[in-house]
């Protein structure tokens, strides 16, 4: 039954068939974009590495051999060892889990929150819109990193608090985008049709408005991932994110700082991991934007 022709049929008979067809077409367009594929490969690699970290890492990420401390990169330790004799490669591999965890948690908190606020503001309009968007604009014109720092300072260091701080300062952009999206179809006839069936506002928003805003939100989230990773690493670097001995990349760079002039690899290696992963999300996000949300290109 599931053939190419069936998936790409111009007259899909079920919702599933049309959704599969759409997904297939999107994938095909995305596949033609070489850089986006590189990005996708990097993101998939991150997922795999995070999933199989204990099996991929050649050594323990937390226990080291002091006799082996501060070894330069070699065949035994591809990225060298740190000040406690731990294998840096193993720590970077395990660090992928922490990075992925932070990024996912932030996305799961900030994006739905922003989406909901934007959709509600756009759908109801009037004073609800004015209050919610006023709030959004205030957040948007404040420095994100500094606010996140202040929040962490109040909540105390740690991964959970770092996630909360980044999410609190991250939602406004999704609210803006979702609202703009809603305004484009708020008065369209298909919504009138649903309204005439006496559907509740909740039902309309849940089943008709939100699904239409999803693609632009997904694009934006993917593009924001790099920023979230950098912010999380920055908090780690300042000692406010993940705490030792967790192998968080930013915290690793921070510890390597003490030896930077003589043992450069301790601080630089985790940096390469951050750069590659951020780059992967950037490239994938750019590609997704071209496919899903071409008009969003000007929104940077």
């Amino acid at each position: 039954m599931i053939s190419r022709a069936w998936i790409l049929s111009d007259n899909p008979e079920t919702r599933l068939q049309s959704q599969l067809g759409q997904a297939w077409r999107l994938m095909r367009t995305l596949a033609r974009n070489g850089l986006a594929m590189v990005g996708l490969a990097i993101v998939l690699a991150l997922l795999l590495i995070a999933a199989f970290a204990p099996w991929l890492a050649p050594y323990s990420p937390v226990e080291g051999v002091l006799a082996n401390r501060l070894q330069p990169p070699s065949a035994a330790h591809w990225m060298g060892t740190d000040e406690l004799g731990r294998d840096i490669l193993s720590r970077v591999i395990h660090g992928a889990r922490i990075t992925l965890l932070i990024v996912l948690l932030v996305a799961v908190i900030a994006a739905p929150l922003g989406l909901l606020i934007g959709v509600v503001a756009g759908y109801f309009g009037g004073w609800i819109d004015r209050i919610l968007m006023g709030l959004t604009d205030i957040f948007l014109s404040l420095p994100r990193l500094i606010l996140a720092l202040a929040f962490v300072a109040a909540l105390g260091p740690g991964i959970e608090n770092a996630v909360i701080a980044i999410a609190i300062t991250g939602w406004p952009i999704y609210a803006r985008i979702a609202r703009a999206e809603v305004l484009t179809f708020r008065n369209s006839e298909f919504l009138d049709a649903v309204r005439m069936q006496d559907a509740s506002a909740f039902r309309i928003i849940r089943f008709h408005v939100i699904p239409l805003c999803l693609s632009s939100t997904i694009v934006r989230v993917t593009l924001d991932m790099a920023g979230i990773i950098l912010t999380a690493a920055g908090l780690g670097f300042l000692g406010l994110g993940a705490q030792p001995p967790l192998p968080e990349w930013g915290a690793m760079i921070s510890r390597g700082r003490a030896f930077i002039l003589d043992q450069w690899w301790v601080a630089t290696m985790p940096g390469f991991a951050i750069i590659i992963v951020s780059l992967g999300f950037c490239l994938l996000g750019d590609g997704l934007r071209d496919v899903l949300d071409p008009k969003g290109r000007s929104r940077g």
């Binding site: 006023g134 709030l135 604009d137 205030i138 957040f139 014109s141 404040l142 420095p143 994100r144 990193l145 500094i146 606010l147 720092l149 202040a150 929040f151 962490v152 300072a153 109040a154 909540l155 105390g156 790099a226 920023g227 950098l230 690493a233 920055g234 670097f237 300042l238 000692g239 406010l240 930013g250 760079i253 390597g256 700082r257 930077i260 002039l261 450069w264 601080a267 630089t268 940096g271 951050i274 750069i275 951020s278 780059l279 950037c282 490239l283 000007s298 940077g300």
Partner: protein, 337 residues
């Protein structure tokens, strides 16, 4: 009168945004798990003393009254006393702020001086090598952590090549030799006529400022490129070609002129972004600016200092943002119909 309406509107959002910032710092100050009363009376005080101090501190008043008092206090310039330095936070901030201003300003100058022409040429020769370079730089600006680039820069240009001075604003043996007038070390040493100090200050500021400038450049070049591409596809560019205007003039006069105003906003945004980014860079370079002050305060849980620094950076950030909006409105003939 109607011509002034946008300006009034801008002023209103400015005030509201500032109040929003204050509300956030007020809120953060309230959720801190440290009980301010216990901090005063100690945890072995009796219930009566505790309640008396609590009332004296105004903590029994409704939140909105407390917030009003907080705003008033801030407006008077009272940011509280720093636990770690023992001085008023406002005094501390006034002392460290010029160092940040100096570095961010040189950073933005580098970013604009290189980023704008790069963006213009990339747009003029779409797909050429310079266009590719801008693309790579743009991506790098997104993906590279500033603090990491700072560390790598220190290793390469300070430790290995010895091209620049190391951490700090000036060589240690010159520290404190220049009388403070503006707080901007480059300016002060020039006023003082102290060539040695000036040279040392330049060699210290050049690396962190360039790294900050790199991030500004990445953003400015990318935005300039996309603005220019939009301009170059306009009809009036064809009109200019029909008139026989040389390409160089078409680029700078016909395409660049209309985007100058838009660029002001972009430059304002990235300048504000540099102030923010300086937190990381200052930590790496032990630069005695507001970022370093903030991170030190963070690690000491010195909340007055943290919130004070947040307020100052936030206020400057808002001022630059809204200021560039205002300039936009003043400078663009199309906005004033």
């Amino acid at each position: 009168m109607t011509r002034l309406l946008p300006a009034l509107n801008l002023l209103l959002t400015l005030v509201l945004t500032f109040l929003g910032l204050l509300a956030i710092t007020f809120f953060i100050g309230r959720v801190v798990p440290i009980d301010p009363v216990i901090a005063v009376v100690g945890d072995r005080a009796s219930k009566e003393t505790y309640d008396a101090v609590r009332a004296a501190l105004g903590l029994d008043d409704p939140l909105i009254v407390q917030f009003g008092r907080y705003v008033w206090q801030i407006l008077l310039g009272d940011l509280g006393v720093s636990v770690s330095t023992g001085r008023p936070v406002a005094t501390d901030l006034a002392r460290v702020f010029p160092a940040t201003l100096e570095m961010a300003t040189i950073g933005i100058i580098i970013g604009v001086a290189l980023g704008v022409p790069m963006g213009v040429f990339a747009a003029a020769r779409q797909g050429s090598w310079i266009d590719q370079v801008i693309r790579v730089i743009g991506l790098a600006g997104y993906a590279i952590p500033a603090f990491w680039l700072g560390l790598v820069g220190l290793v390469v240009f300070y430790a290995q090549l010895r091209w620049v001075g190391g951490p700090g604003r000036i060589d240690l043996f010159l520290d404190g030799m220049v009388p403070v007038k503006t707080g901007l070390l480059l300016v002060d040493s020039a006023i003082d006529g102290n060539g040695e100090a000036f040279q040392s200050a330049v060699s210290h500021i050049i690396l962190p400022a360039t790294i900050l400038g790199f991030f500004a450049l990445a953003y400015i070049a990318r935005m300039t490129r996309s603005f220019m591409l939009e301009q170059l596809s306009q009809e009036y560019i064809i009109t200019a070609r029909v008139k026989g205007v040389p390409e160089r003039l078409i680029l700078w006069r016909h395409a660049f002129r209309p985007i100058r105003v838009q660029l002001i906003t972009v430059i304002g945004l990235s300048y504000a972004g540099l102030l923010e980014g300086s937190v990381m860079i200052e930590t790496v370079f032990s630069w005695p600016g507001i970022g370093n002050y903030l991170t030190t305060a963070l690690l000491n849980a010195d909340m007055n200092a943290v919130l004070g620094a947040t307020l100052v950076i936030g206020t400057v950030f808002i001022a630059i943002n809204k200021g560039s909006d205002l300039l936009y409105w003043l400078l663009d003939p199309r906005a004033r119909i």
